[in-house]
């Protein structure tokens, strides 16, 4: 996928002025969401997520380790993203660039701050042994909006996950053996949405060309607790600034879109569990 031409960017921006997009979607409308669970038998949990032509894989592996000094009674989370050269000729082999670090960080913060995983319940012995949950992300085909797809994949893989067998005597995990126990997860699904600003318009779930045409982006992770919505992670990206009014408007849109996306997620999960 080559860098988007100035002409295409201008057309995207002209279209948007009339409230239209190349693929006929509404400004805030997501593409079709398809989830596949259990894509690796050797993972504790795994999922493949397709948002239109964007295709990603996420896996959860677990191990037992010493807790961090500042959280002696809590499990540990780590998240690494690899933007594979397989998924786009814009990505190169070699050490991770900023983009893959950012995707990893945004998965990490979306999962950690949303309270989706009860890390206190992942303590085996305070100060000595806790579970570590490692979420690894791979892009398979990048056609925009990798971050939102990544967090959907992480949540799906966590729901899919079974706890591995832990040998208490040896203090070690029996790799390749699992219990029937699921991870301690909250019922509220965290949803991460990245809003893109193009020529004064705000859109969701951009294709690659729309990402290229955008001036600024704002990623928000939303959860719902007791009927009230909260923003649990946020990051403004790219060089252009956002006005206070625009930002406030985005917060309000995000709360509304949350309900639509949770429904979309649940529907895709039901389909995935059938297979």
């Amino acid at each position: 996928m080559m860098e988007t031409s100035e002409l295409t960017k201008k057309r995207i921006s002209d279209y948007l002025r009339e409230g239209k997009r190349f693929d006929n979607r509404k400004l805030l409308e997501f593409r079709d969401l398809k989830i596949e669970l259990g894509i690796s038998k050797n993972a504790e949990g795994s999922a493949r997520v397709k948002l239109g032509k964007t295709d990603v894989m996420v896996g959860v592996k677990m191990d037992v380790m010493e807790p961090y000094k500042d959280s002696q009674n809590e499990g540990v989370l780590s998240s690494i993203a690899e933007l594979l050269p397989m998924s786009s000729d814009r990505f190169e082999s070699g050490p991770p660039g900023f983009e893959s670090i950012e995707v990893g960080r945004l998965i990490d913060r979306s999962i950690r701050e949303s309270g989706f995983v009860d890390f206190k319940k992942l303590c085996i012995k305070e100060g000595e042994k806790v579970w570590s949950v490692m979420i690894d992300f791979y892009s398979i085909n990048d056609n925009g909006n990798l971050v939102d797809a990544a967090v959907i994949g992480a949540v799906a893989a966590l729901i899919d996950a079974k706890m591995p067998k832990y040998n208490e005597e040896k203090g070690k995990v029996e790799f390749g053996e699992w219990t029937n126990k699921k991870l301690p997860l909250s019922k509220s699904i965290p949803i991460t949405m990245t809003f893109y600003k193009i020529n004064g318009k705000i859109i969701l779930d951009p294709i690659k060309e729309e990402e290229d045409a955008s001036e600024a982006k704002l990623t928000l992770c939303i959860i719902e607790e007791n009927g009230k919505k909260y923003i649990t992670a946020a990051q403004k990206g790219n060089e252009a600034g956002l006005s206070i009014e625009d930002t406030g408007k985005i917060f309000e849109i995000a709360e509304k879109e949350y309900d639509i996306l949770v429904e979309k997620f649940q529907k895709a999960m039901k389909e995935a569990e059938k297979e």
């Binding site: 993972a43 896996g59 592996k61 050269p85 998924s87 000729d89 690894d136 398979i140 056609n143």
Partner: protein, 234 residues
């Protein structure tokens, strides 16, 4: 006790169920998935395209670059994300194997990148990767002299078997396990890949190569059929 009955009940010369999917990655010029049972390989081809930096360009022939890696969760004990020494070696031997069948002279000054990724592994990943790569190259329309295909042969105690699984790799009875990765060109029947770990006599290895060649012929038919079937759809 000699190894007479395979762990998964297959005949000695029988591969696991082969699954092929083509054009799985829309961004790539060619792509494919190839699976031997639970071992899944995905491959994407980008190119031929301009090679940078310029001093690496060769006016006589094109360059083929292969990168193989496994996803961290493809194995029971998590693999650290990113390339390691094992992956670097597999990338290179795969590159050597494919370079023999790709018409490198047809695209001077340019490069073809082949990316192989393993989302789920149960042994024999490098040979599954070569099959996926060969399909992806064909779908990308990269000029090829002929096709190639690959398979693993195991010697468990004294018994030769085709398409080794993890349990067989770890077989310890009698003479134990010898694991042989093989790839052949489809028409000229040349050996494109030969790697071996274990202990085996020269005569037995000759026999293993014969078995590998025969099996690769069969696999090659399936690769060709898959490409033809798609051709009919288009």
């Amino acid at each position: 006790m000699s190894y007479t009955k395979r762990f998964d009940g297959r005949k000695n010369d029988e591969t696991r169920k082969i699954k092929i999917e083509l054009d799985i990655i829309p961004n790539a010029d060619g792509s494919a998935l190839f699976a031997f049972g639970d071992t899944i390989a995905m491959a994407a081809v980008y190119g031929p395209k301009q090679l940078h930096p310029q001093h690496m360009q060769n006016p006589k022939k094109g360059l083929l670059r292969v990168k193989y890696d496994m996803m961290s969760f493809s194995v029971t004990e998590r693999k650290r994300p990113g390339p390691n020494r094992r992956g670097t070696e597999i990338s290179k031997v795969t590159e050597w194997a494919l370079s023999e069948v790709v018409e490198l002279d047809a695209f001077p000054n340019t490069v073809v990148d082949v990316h192989i990724m393993i989302p789920q592994a149960n042994a024999s990943t490098r040979v599954a990767g070569i099959n996926a790569a060969c399909l992806a190259l064909a779908r990308a329309g990269v000029p090829m002299k002929e096709m190639c295909s690959a398979v693993s042969i195991g010697k468990l105690d004294k018994t030769l078997v085709v398409d080794v699984i993890k349990e067989e790799e770890d077989y310890e009875e009698g003479e134990g396990a010898t694991d042989i990765a093989l790839a052949f060109s489809s028409r000229s029947k040349k050996i494109l890949l030969l790697q071996l770990d274990g202990q085996i006599s020269a005569d037995e290895l000759k026999e293993a190569i014969q078995l590998g060649s025969k099996t690769c012929d069969k696999i090659n038919e399936q690769l060709k059929d898959a490409i033809k079937a798609l051709g009919k759809e288009e």
